[in-house]
Symmetry: C2
């Protein structure tokens, strides 16, 4: 960052993109959210089967991050074997327009 220290930072608008990227960025979160938003509540292993290539560790980690950020609700049933259900919160459901805009954009020059 030394090589930009001589350049004054223009701070005229508050760009939320870095914050948004923290919430829904990365390799898995968009995929997880899309499933929970458009297909409803899923159990852990259901998600694991639906998401190609994800490891158990990674899925757990991403779900915990989404839960921490209020995008996913986690419900544990005290049973054996364990049952845990994941549901999109209202905040996540509000992302529907974003997903649809992305989809439309993708379709526009890929179909």
């Amino acid at each position: 960052m030394k090589d930009t220290s001589d350049i004054p930072v223009v701070e005229e608008w508050n760009c939320p993109m870095p914050d948004i990227a923290k919430l829904i960025g990365g390799k898995w979160k968009l995929i997880i959210l899309q499933i929970l938003i458009f297909q409803g509540t899923k159990r852990f292993n259901e998600l694991r089967k639906m998401i190609d290539g994800v490891t158990q560790t990674m899925l757990t980690q991403q779900l915990r991050a989404l839960e921490r950020d209020g995008l996913v609700h986690r419900k544990v049933y005290p049973e054996v074997p364990p049952r845990v259900e994941y549901t999109a919160t209202q905040r996540a459901l509000n992302l529907t327009d974003v997903f649809e805009a992305m989809h439309d954009w993708w379709v526009k020059d890929n179909d």
Copy 2:
């Protein structure tokens, strides 16, 4: 089984999210694109000043990736000192709805 009838099941599509994430994911691309889309053509150093914390190397790299993916047009003027202008392509301009949806979502529970 959990009742999920309150969740809007819109439409089931073939998940393009991993591909979309490759194009506009990461720490910098959304920021760069937003500037070029909403504020028009910028020179390299203008972008550098506007994007807080980005290094020269990183900015070059991200711009090259965006160019390769047809989201940014790069115009080099054969002058010394160098002048290079970056412009959002039509494909990038088509992302306007995505950005607006993201912005609206962000505003909804952060303002």
